[in-house]
Amino acid sequence: MALVFDRPKSLTDKKFHYCPGCHHGIIHRLAAEALDELNIQQKTVVIASVGCSVLAYDYFDTDAVQAAHGRAPAVATGVKRASPESVVFTYQGDGDLASIGMAEIVHAAARSENITVIFVNNAVYGMTGGQMAPTSLMGQQTSTSPQGRSAESNGYPIRVCELLATLDGPSYLARVSVHDPKHVREAKKAILKAFQMQIQHQGFSLVEVVSTCPTNWHLTPVEALEWLEKKMLKQYPLGVFKKIEGVE
């Protein structure tokens, strides 16, 4: 009998701890598939960040370094500069990357560090229990914006891909989602592309994955998918924001 579905080699056997309807599991799998397909598992180092994906080092069957909150791009810089033959990627959420770690991500991108970033944007702090994130939408109710995010007191959400696209450093910036099979396939392609950029020494690559957090959005998994499609994608349109020429 032909085997049509299996666990990627680059994932460990450990069961994900993520909530029902959360997209981290899918995104982990896509990244692991990319490592398998590019045959780079044996030289990959994943930098886990602080947030729901803090335990990423338990799931990827690769070497790993756990980073302080927001510092994953700096840690990745250290790993990659000291060990250029390694493939290095960070896996970061929106609080980690776009709030406390904004300086690190901007400068890693500006230096065109030859690393890959998988940025999971679900518009909320998941692990600490649903507080407002730098990417929370206008009007979005969170535990620290109970009346809904307002411009007066909270300002406006940050679009990371668009912001980084103003820099000369990045080689590849794409925003994808995994809310249906078609988009999952596209997300996979983008993640593959991002790793290929690194393997070809093209410098900084980042894939932003717009994702759900049913638990902290207080929605069912199905409602969360609808909310993502209707609200999130309006604020965070999908697409490729930067792709340097000359590389296929």
Binding site: T12, Q41, Q42, K43, T44, V45, I47, V54, L55, Y57, D61, T62, D63, A64, V65, Q66, A67, A68, R71, A74, V75, A76, T77, G78, V79, K80, R81, A82, S83, E85, S86, V87, A103, E104, V106, H107, R111
Partner: protein
């Protein structure tokens, strides 16, 4: 032996290179900027990595990343910048990674000044960052000793998988003295089977981590750290003593201040006062036994620092009330003169005489 005349800050850089350090991450701050400037020139010549980070916070996290791969790596800064690095230092200590961190101290608190000071002793030896951890803290007092202790620092860091701090002051960093830098032949660096550079066919994964959500496991980590710290404390204390054998008054001081005190000791000796000098070279582990031995026949110990009195606490703890401990310090970035210390020793000598 060939001597060159070099600034302390530059000697830190050259000694690091000659210790096999090939990665440096830092951020400019006075009075240590000659060090990153020197390494920005020198590291590329030896195939090394120099990155000027966006902040001290990023720099120490780059160190954390590079140390994770098993290379010899260093960062440097001065007081306010070292405060910013504390988060990363705690992670490095918890993850048991070797690295060398240089603090060329300037006056504080706050933005303080840019001149020499010794007011980061507590921060260096008692924690600084969160959690129960220790740095090995080495305090050179001459440009030659900078070269020697940087080399020793890298070795200690690898031996114990522990961050090492070189604690100097702005005068040491800025001053020039003749120095013998040695050959730079470090031989084979120790194997680091724990390093995370990719599995490369290994069965098990190497994970550099300081997260232990299970309290029992976190306690186990802490117990093993404490065991390591006890071992370091037993084996690695270093101190210099000068004329302490018959000393009635022992002056305890480290770094540049110790040299000023040595001059004062010579001055009072000429007046017939039996004084000596105790200079700790390791500030953690503190050379407690060495101090007790140096002060065993003395009637008073005078601690002199460019601070409001920080090391004096370790002097008191070491002596545990056996000998009265006095303190003389200058604050901000004022440097105590040999004359001031001379007066202070004389005052104490008189006091001892009256008690008799």
């Amino acid at each position: 032996m060939s001597l060159v005349l070099k600034k302390g800050n530059e000697v830190v850089g050259e000694a690091a290179i000659r210790s096999g350090c090939r990665c440096y991450f830092g951020y400019p701050i006075t009075p240590q900027s000659e060090l990153p400037e020197y390494l920005a020139r020198r590291l590329p010549q030896v195939g090394g990595v120099f990155v000027q980070a966006e902040s001290e916070i990023a720099a120490i996290n780059m160190v954390y990343g590079a140390a994770s791969t098993g290379v010899r790596v260093m960062t440097s800064s001065s007081s306010p910048g070292i405060s910013l690095k504390q988060e990363g230092i705690s992670y490095i200590a918890a993850s048991q990674l070797p690295c060398v961190i240089v603090n060329i101290m300037r006056g504080g608190p706050g933005l303080g000044g840019i001149q020499a000071s010794q007011s980061d002793y507590f921060q260096a030896t008692k924690g600084g960052g969160h959690g129960d951890y220790r740095l090995i803290v080495l305090a050179p007092s001459s440009v030659q000793e900078i070269a020697d202790l940087v080399k020793e620092g890298f070795q200690l860091a690898d031996t114990y998988r522990n961050p090492v701090m070189i604690l100097g002051d702005g005068i040491l960093g800025q001053m020039m003295e003749p120095v013998d830098l040695g050959s730079g032949d470090v031989g084979e660096l120790p194997d680091k089977p724990w390093a995370a550079r990719g599995k490369k066919g290994r069965r098990s994964r190497n994970v550099i981590n300081s997260l232990y959500l299970d309290s029992e496991k976190l306690e186990q980590l802490n117990l093993s750290l404490q065991k390591k710290y006890r071992l370091i404390a037993e084996r690695e204390t270093r101190a210099e003593t000068y004329l302490t054998e018959d000393a009635q008054i022992v002056v305890a001081a480290y770094g540049m201040t110790a040299r000023i005190c040595k001059e004062a000791v010579d001055m009072v000796r000429k007046k017939g006062i039996r004084a000596g000098l105790f200079r700790p070279i390791t500030l953690w582990p503190y050379p407690e036994k060495e101090l007790r031995l140096a002060a065993q026949h003395s009637q008073a110990v005078l601690t002199v620092e460019m601070s409001a009195g920080q090391m004096v606490e370790d002097v008191r703890l070491s002596l545990n009330g056996e000998v009265p401990v006095e303190f003389y310090g200058r604050l901000g970035s004022m440097v105590p003169s040999a004359g001031e210390v001379f007066e202070e020793i004389q005052r104490i000598s008189k006091k001892i005489g009256e008690v008799k």
